[in-house]
């Protein structure tokens, strides 16, 4: 009867997508350990986000509200989570495989001397627990055993399907306020300021359509046609590692192992050959349309649709066709 604790990250009073994915896998673990999923939410908006978790099968939410935690502080967040682990004795403590989820759980692991498995995609509860996790950002899978009293794991992004339409039945989760004991040394590292993204920009991780460019685009200037298509579709523009290493796009636009993982409804890959380091960043897209002169390039192995041709002619032709059909 051991619980499963899940660190739930939240924005504007709602659990974020990767945390909801983690909750799905946590629920399947909890059904095997015979306990409940208990969410842990930290910082401003935590109580609001906790109420919304009824739709995700959460019955108990630990809400950590301490003024000193309003700015993200990884060691302090970990200290609060360690206190709850000590108090609840869960079978597992799980977080999303996000920057913060991996970071906080690694702090928990380091502070408590436990092993931790990052970017897990499957868990078999047994003796010991058997899990599958991503290596090489998901180009390779590792089957591993994790032997610990509390199993510390983060869940790989965009692997677990989330049922967005699950109805909010039943009463909201029981919300328990937790007042953490935080040492000053755990607050040394904290967010001291924010710089907002450029006004009106659509983030690559949120966009429904992403237009990606690769070596075939050829120059910074040639991205203008990709920008035009993205603007017509309300989407965002990204690129492969070649593109950011050549300075054609800023590094923050890189899709792939050392950049972003995206999961749009449609990814339009223009002049991208499809190295595995890029594919791991875009394979969670619902559909991939490749535009490439080479019908044998590796991108065709993961694409759902393709146009064989030069992106410098094909992309403007698509934009023109969209405009032609637009109501006057």
């Amino acid at each position: 009867m051991s619980a499963v604790l899940v660190l739930v990250e939240h924005v504007d009073g709602e659990a974020d997508r990767l945390s909801r994915e983690a909750l799905v896998l946590a629920a399947s673990v909890a059904s095997r350990t015979g306990g409940d999923v208990e969410a842990v939410l930290i910082g401003a908006g935590a109580a609001d986000a906790a109420r919304g978790l009824v739709a995700h099968g959460v019955r108990t939410a630990h809400v950590v509200t301490d003024a000193r935690l309003s700015a993200y502080a990884p060691a302090a967040w970990a200290a609060a989570l360690v206190e709850l682990i000590d108090a609840r004795g869960p079978a597992a403590a799980i977080a999303a495989g996000s920057d913060r989820g991996n970071e906080v759980l690694a702090h928990v692991a380091a502070r408590t001397g436990r092993p931790m498995a990052a970017n897990v995609v499957d868990i078999i509860v047994g003796d010991p627990w058997r899990l599958t996790r991503q290596r090489w950002a998901g180009s390779l899978l590792e089957d591993a055993e994790l032997d610990a009293d509390v199993h510390l794991m983060t869940i790989a992004p965009h692997v677990v399907p989330v049922d967005e339409a699950s109805p909010s039945t039943g009463s909201p989760p029981l919300t328990l306020d937790h007042q953490p004991t935080i040492a000053d040394r755990d607050l040394v590292v904290h967010v001291t300021g924010q710089e907002a993204p450029a006004a009106g920009s659509i983030s690559l991780t949120d966009a429904r359509v992403v237009v990606g460019g690769g070596r075939g685009v050829g120059s910074s200037e040639a991205f203008a046609t990709l920008e035009e298509l993205a603007a017509l579709l309300g989407g965002a523009v990204g690129g492969s590692r070649v593109v950011t290493s050549n300075g054609w796009r800023p590094h923050s636009d890189q899709i792939g192992q050392t950049g972003l993982r995206i999961a749009p409804d449609l990814y339009i890959a223009c002049g991208i050959s499809g190295a595995i380091q890029h594919i791991v960043g875009c394979k969670a897209a619902k559909r991939i349309l490749a535009i490439n002169t080479d019908p044998d390039s590796p991108i065709m192995g993961v694409a759902d649709y393709a146009v064989i041709g030069d992106l410098h002619q094909v992309v403007p032709a698509i934009s023109a066709e969209i405009r032609r059909r637009a109501p006057a």
Binding site: R100, A118, L140, L141, A144, I308, G309, R325
Partner: protein, 257 residues
């Protein structure tokens, strides 16, 4: 500034990964080796800081004797010294890796004085454990910032930026000594010069035998993910395919008409 950079030798996988017959390792017969792009940026950053502010830089790796190639690559672009925690090639889990690095840091600091800054790549390219830098920092009781794409050190402090979860940037500012894990995009690493390579070739590499231990996760085996198996549907050739593409966009509901 005294700076230590920790790197990891990994196969340079390009098109696709193949495994050995027993599924325990990547088949490296036809592969070269490198360090991750994150770590190339960590090495470059250490060299730039020492160039600007003086001091010295060291590079450390844990791995097989062949990992001295990656140490020499780092020295070729300007790192001063190298330490190899030489293993028999078997995999160290993240707990054991961090413990070996902590022990080496303590020994280096006892012999040469403290490091102001210890740099890591945000995660190893191969195992992707996302924890070694943090374990080292916690064991040494030093502040640690992860995912750093902009770093300024001076006046006994490190100021850093990383991408915020909802877009834009978040800033950090911590006292030194500190541990910083960096991401590609921090800088544009230089290529080594020929004289740099020759200098690096002649340099001594300090060798230490680290203690192996096992805490997990314990590898059972590796496998390739199942292919998504989608058969690609060719919509057409050249710009004449545009109407078919826009039909598709309309069908899947991404056309804002």
């Amino acid at each position: 500034m005294e700076i230590l950079v920790c790197v990891k030798r990994v196969p340079a996988t390009g098109g696709r990964i193949s495994l050995t017959a027993d599924g325990q390792e990547i088949d490296i017969r036809y592969l070269g080796f490198t360090v991750s792009p994150h770590e190339e940026c960590a090495v470059e950053e250490a060299v730039r800081i020492v160039e600007a502010q003086g001091g010295s830089s060291s590079v450390l790796t844990l791995g097989h004797a062949a990992a001295q190639d990656q140490l020499r690559d780092a020295m070729a672009i300007g790192i001063d010294r190298a330490i190899l925690l030489e293993t028999d090639g078997r995999e160290f889990d993240p707990v054991a890796t961090a413990a070996a690095i902590v022990e080496a840091v303590r020994a280096q600091e006892a012999a040469h004085g403290p490091f102001d800054l210890i740099l890591f790549g945000n995660e190893a390219a191969d195992t992707g454990d996302f924890q070694v830098g943090i374990r080292v920092a916690v064991a040494l009781d030093r502040p640690v910032i992860n995912g750093v794409k902009s770093l300024t050190v001076g006046g006994g402090r490190a100021a850093a930026k990383r991408e915020a979860p909802t877009g834009g940037w978040e800033t950090y500012d911590v006292p030194l000594p500190a541990v910083v894990s960096v991401k590609e995009g921090l800088n544009l690493p230089r290529y080594p010069s020929i004289p740099g390579r020759l200098r690096a070739k002649r340099k001594e590499i300090e060798r230490v035998e680290p203690a192996w231990s096992s805490s997990g996760p314990t590898k059972v085996g590796l496998r390739l993910p199942e292919e998504q198996g989608a058969q690609v549907e060719i919509l057409g050739r050249g710009p004449e395919a545009a109407p078919a593409v826009v039909d598709l966009l309309a069908r899947i509901g991404v056309l804002p008409l």
